[in-house]
């Protein structure tokens, strides 16, 4: 071997240097039994972690890169994006964030701190898609899947690009058997809301629905686009839907002009930005189509 480091040694050194730099912003979050999970110092004094690894609201401690252990207070959590935000009195540096969208084939590192020392995995971004909604109704700006081994305690750790910048937070809590990344833009948006309000505001109508197949003749007479509608099985008293005149037995055909055939479609139309705004509901009632106008409310805390 020659005395000058070869390209492999150079790459190896670069990877280790990136781990060392970003690792200063990666913390261990002690908030569950078993081994701790990971978190990232997102801005000074603020740590972002995953919701599913924080199993208690009090008595949370954080272990920093220099070995120090500090107490953390939970600023808020958002189960729908599997994110939680902690306030921590620390001077640990905030991670440098990437503003670019991940691309398929990019070489990336996943870091974690499931204990005292930082750990690293290497892989590539295997799939990137557009905005998507989690099964709990959270909106994530981009679908990012990794071709990378997933180890215990890595949830809450950063996805690091080749430039040593944090592109998102990795979690095993949003999909079975695969590692997904919540992009940095989503993390920043959710963190800002949790810091200012303590929770994520979501629009609310106050109805429960279930899908129902429309008979062909009814579909025809209604001029409905889809063969499936949502039958209203409950209307909460004094809820926005109640005040707007929605009745049990109505079949919801469209919200805001878009056909709905799954309760998730309704959730999708009820982002936090819709609170206080009027929204148009098209329903089938007594065999005829009717248009109702409901003012979107804010979902009470702890309600699905």
């Amino acid at each position: 071997m020659s005395s000058s480091p070869g390209p492999l040694a150079t790459l190896s050194n670069d990877l280790a240097a990136a781990v060392d730099t970003v690792g200063r912003s990666v913390v261990a979050v002690h908030a569950r039994r078993r081994i701790p999970a990971s978190g990232v110092v997102w801005q000074p004094g603020v740590v972002v972690a995953t919701h599913h690894t924080i199993q208690r609201d009090d008595g949370i401690t954080i272990a920093l890169h220099d070995g120090a252990t500090v107490e953390a207070t939970l600023a808020g959590r958002d189960p729908s994006t599997d994110l939680a935000v902690l306030r921590v009195a620390t001077s640990a540096p905030a991670a440098a964030l990437s503003t670019e969208a991940p691309r398929v084939g990019q070489v990336v590192l996943a870091l974690g701190r499931p204990g005292a020392s930082v750990t690293a995995s290497l892989g590539i971004v295997s799939a990137v898609g557009g905005e998507w909604r989690t099964w709990q109704g959270g909106t994530i700006d981009r679908f990012v899947r990794l071709d990378m081994a997933v180890y215990d305690g890595f949830s809450g750790g950063p996805l690091v690009d080749a430039a040593g910048r944090v592109a998102g937070i990795n979690t095993s809590g949003l999909a079975r058997a695969t590692a997904l990344t919540v992009p940095a833009s989503t993390v920043s948006r959710v963190a800002a809301q949790l810091l200012s309000r303590g929770h994520i505001a979501r629009g609310w109508l106050g109805i429960a629905t279930q899908p129902v197949r429309l008979p062909a003749t009814l579909q025809q007479s209604l001029g409905a686009e889809a063969a499936i509608g949502l039958v209203v099985v409950n209307v909460e008293a004094e809820s926005p839907a109640d005040r707007g005149g929605v009745l049990i037995g109505d079949i919801l055909l469209a919200v805001d002009g878009r056909p709905v055939s799954d309760p998730g479609d309704v959730l999708a139309a009820l982002g936090g930005d819709r609170i206080g705004q009027a929204i148009a509901l098209r329903v089938a009632r007594g065999g005829r189509a009717e248009q109702l106008t409901v003012t979107v409310g804010e979902r009470p805390r702890g309600r699905r």
Partner: protein, 203 residues
């Protein structure tokens, strides 16, 4: 170096990986204990001392297949199931030994290369990186933990750094991670044999 009509991600990287893999294959042997499946071993000392796992060297009479394909009977010199290490002696001398480095100097994120015989595929190479270097003591922290895809048959084989220096002996897979015995633990094991006068000669 990359020609104009080829697409090479990092010039020379693939060639360097090939060199390191070839160099490791030159110090890696196959270890057979009776009818049991094949493990790997690393030529540690020139006079024919081979290091492997205790769980590979499960018989007193072992057969070693050298990198050039010759088979030779090997004698079990010492075995430590707790550290999962065994030392074997080849009947012939003058074998190219592995270049070694201390795993305690590794940093998380450094690249690693493993050579072994996973699932019976002789002399297969895997690329990964340092997940967590050994920090001493007992338990998981005593091992060199690697983010690398290994399989049965890698046991006893070398795990090397980006310079091709052996930093550990692959021993087991825990939660998907490769666990290797760090070189300094191997050296300690060998020095105990020397003090005990159980056949291993000094390098």
């Amino acid at each position: 170096m990359a020609a104009a009509d080829t697409l090479e991600l990092v010039p020379g990287l693939t060639a360097a990986l090939g060199q390191i893999s070839e160099r490791l294959r030159g110090v890696t042997v196959q270890v057979r204990a009776g009818q049991a499946s094949t493990g790997a071993g690393v030529v540690w000392l020139r006079h024919g001392l081979v290091v492997t796992n205790a769980h590979v060297a499960t018989a007193s009479k072992l057969e070693v297949v050298l990198p050039d394909g010759r088979a030779a009977p090997a004698r079990l010199v010492a075995r430590d199931p707790e550290r999962d290490l065994a030392a074997l002696e080849l009947p012939s001398a003058d074998h190219e030994p592995a270049v070694r480095a201390d795993a305690r100097g590794l940093r998380p994120g450094e690249l690693l290369v493993a050579v072994g015989h996973p699932l019976g595929v002789a002399y297969a190479t895997a690329l990964g990186l340092v997940h967590r270097p050994p920090t001493g003591g007992r338990g998981p922290a005593a091992w060199l933990q690697a983010d690398i895809r290994l399989a049965p048959g890698n046991s006893g084989g070398p795990l090397a750094d980006a310079g091709g220096r052996v930093v550990g002996i692959n021993a087991m897979i825990v939660g998907g991670l490769g666990f290797a015995v760090p070189t300094h633990v191997v050296e300690r094991f060998l020095s105990r044999i020397n003090r005990g006068g159980r056949g291993a000669r000094a390098a």
